[in-house]
Symmetry: none
Subunit: 400 residues, 2 copies
């Protein structure tokens, strides 16, 4: 990171916590005029805000809505626009598969091909998720690639992830999905030598899959897209001199944490378990990332009451979070998921930064408008980690 | 500076003042909850804030704590991360020695070597500062380098600065200080041809110093580190078309001002004298930099009452500052030095920008939280100078 000279990173100092409330930020309700955070009763978060530096985090350049990967990378101190983050990689991470350098992952769909090989249904009639697992097993046992490994990870309905290995493979390969029905799948081609190897394997996989699935009525072909490799990322130990642990219930977030070199520890099933486990781990780590999902899920559903309930449930765990005794603690989100939008949005996300070196401001509350009074203003995502390092006493002065 | 096209710098217009209160910003007292600036009675600064644009200056990227050199370069309109600013250079500047291009400065320690040349004490038993001056004189008269000049500047206790000249020398030379006792000093080596010349001179200096100091009980050897040259800096006249004067009581700040091409003028012994001298100089200059130190010193000591007293003393001189009749005036700091931290910190520093084109906001006061209401928000250090140029009518419109 060009803005954090390595020479000033001390490699010792206080403990840091990053608590990510997925989809935290919202927007005013169209009739009631107040946001989810404003309507929720959050005594513990409001109290923490009153005793902390507060502001907002803008994860990406103005107007850009972050996906989960880029949102987290930004909070983790990286520039998401500088890291290629292919869809296949995201799918693999989301299946808890730690893609290795040189392996290639692609998103797969089961599809229906007619007798002449034309795509009749790009989603094979949307098989059930259970059916998908059966199809994936059938495919695995029916396909054998010469000199290569194939790992298939079942997804939801018609979706799966294909990982090709064991190494030396490139990801500059086209999708074979023509995106419309009534056409034949495209041949795979690679743009460089390593990607040509991948394309040859993918063409072989496609042909063998047709044979293996020949007896199926619906799912008798496969479409692959979003070929991607694992990006080269300088990890937390090297870049920030932090021993970092990740406690996330969902695989996607464990995957992004793994990408930056965090150690994925057993999270347990919910926030209460995550915080209990965090307490046990703190002796061995300098940094702990804790991710909680329900507010995002509620935002996607557009259910105001559900999002408020999710936020209030999180609020009940804030005393346990505070009791970890971290020297520097950030509470924020990886993006907003406003109920009125039902999707991620580009709006900056509220931020609490708590330490002994913060500047509380009277009248702040932990919501989209209450944090505007705070001293932090709107910081960029990658600025958060240097601030946390500073508050934890982990940065030397720059220059004399 | 990439953000200030040279074509729009007019080279004429109003007079500009930059008043730097070293270590200005603070943090809330752990019991009383108010910062030094908030507790101080500052009627003149508060009044100026009420009639000005106010906000904060962030000197370096988020979380980075500036040393005095980088803090000032940032306020002066330069990116401190782009300028190499070696320790030896800082020491030379701090001794009021205007290092010339091609000269090399290094920090020196007198040390104690035992009979076999092993370091017994890296600080030679901490001689007094008076003793240091005697040792420096002895060294100067006992050393003669072939084809090179040696200038020795005494420092405090065991410290001095060595400057090698007259030119053509590089600074990519290792320290000979092994950083621990019980080892012999390292040989100097240069990483390029110019630095090899420096290394050869430094090895010769080390050997001759042993002979010259052979009769000393404690200080019978020298350690050199932080070899540095003067960085290439485009000066104020060229970059901003400003005739700039510096009025600083302490040599370090005169040195940094010299680096950017300001003329160092006689400051006098204190702020009253600086302002009296500034008034006399204004006919000959477009820009005047005035530096005052006591608030920083009090911050380092951790003495809340002393810092408040220093700030209140500065406040008494604000009417004289205002009476200079500058067309654009900035009052700010080169970094925060909070009493609760006793060191420089990374927190942005309060800023007053006064001119006939400013936007006062009701309720602002000159302290960490009072400036948050202001219209300027948090600007980056190198943005200050273009703003001052604009307020002084020294920038043309960009584009038609």
């Amino acid at each position: 990171m060009k803005h954090l000279p390595r020479s000033i990173v001390r490699g010792e100092g206080g403990k840091i916590g990053l608590f990510v409330i997925d989809g935290l930020g919202g927007l005013p309700h169209h009739e009631r005029g107040r946001t989810e955070l404003e309507e929720a009763h959050l005594p513990n978060l409001d109290d923490l805000a009153r005793r902390s530096s507060v502001g907002r985090v803008q994860l990406l350049p103005a107007g850009l809505t972050p996906g989960s990967g880029p949102g987290h990378l930004s909070l983790f101190g990286y520039d998401p626009l500088e890291l290629e983050f292919g869809r296949g990689l995201l799918e693999a991470l989301g299946s808890d598969y730690p893609l290795k350098p040189g392996e290639v992952a692609a998103r797969g769909n089961f599809c229906t091909l007619d007798a002449s090989g034309v795509i009749a249904d790009r989603r094979a009639g949307r098989p059930t998720t259970e059916e998908c697992r059966r199809l994936v097993k059938k495919l695995e046992s029916g396909v054998s690639l010469r000199g290569a490994t194939l790992t298939l990870l079942p997804g939801k309905e018609h979706r799966f992830t294909a990982v090709l290995g064991p190494g030396g493979l490139g990801a500059r390969v086209n999708d074979n999905d023509p995106q419309v029905e009534g056409k034949t799948p495209l041949a795979f081609r690679g743009e460089d030598a390593a990607s040509e190897r991948t394309a040859a394997l993918a063409n072989d996989l496609f042909a063998q899959a047709r044979k293996a699935l020949a007896g199926e009525k619906g799912a008798n072909g496969i479409l692959l897209r979003g070929f991607s490799t694992r990006p080269e990322v300088e990890g937390y130990a090297e870049r920030f001199r932090l021993r970092a642990a990740a406690l996330a219930v969902y695989p996607m977030y464990r995957g992004v944490a793994r990408l930056v070199g965090m150690t994925v520890e057993e999270a347990g099933k919910d926030l209460e378990a995550q915080l209990r486990n965090a307490k046990k781990l703190l002796g061995r780590y300098d940094f702990v990332f804790i991710h909680t999902k329900p507010a995002d899920t509620a935002g996607h559903s557009g259910d105001f009451a559900a999002k408020i309930a999710a936020l209030e449930e999180i609020d009940r765990h804030i005393p346990a979070l505070a009791a970890l005794g971290l020297d520097a603690l950030a509470v924020t989100g990886d993006h907003s998921t406003p109920c009125v939008h039902q999707e991620h949005s580009w709006h900056p996300v509220p931020l609490i930064l708590h330490s002994k070196r913060c500047i509380p401001v009277d009248g702040t509350t932990f919501d989209e408008r209450g944090v505007l009074r705070g001293d932090l203003g709107t910081i960029r995502g990658p600025e958060l980690l240097p601030l946390l390092l500073a508050h934890a006493g982990r940065l030397d002065k720059f220059g004399a």
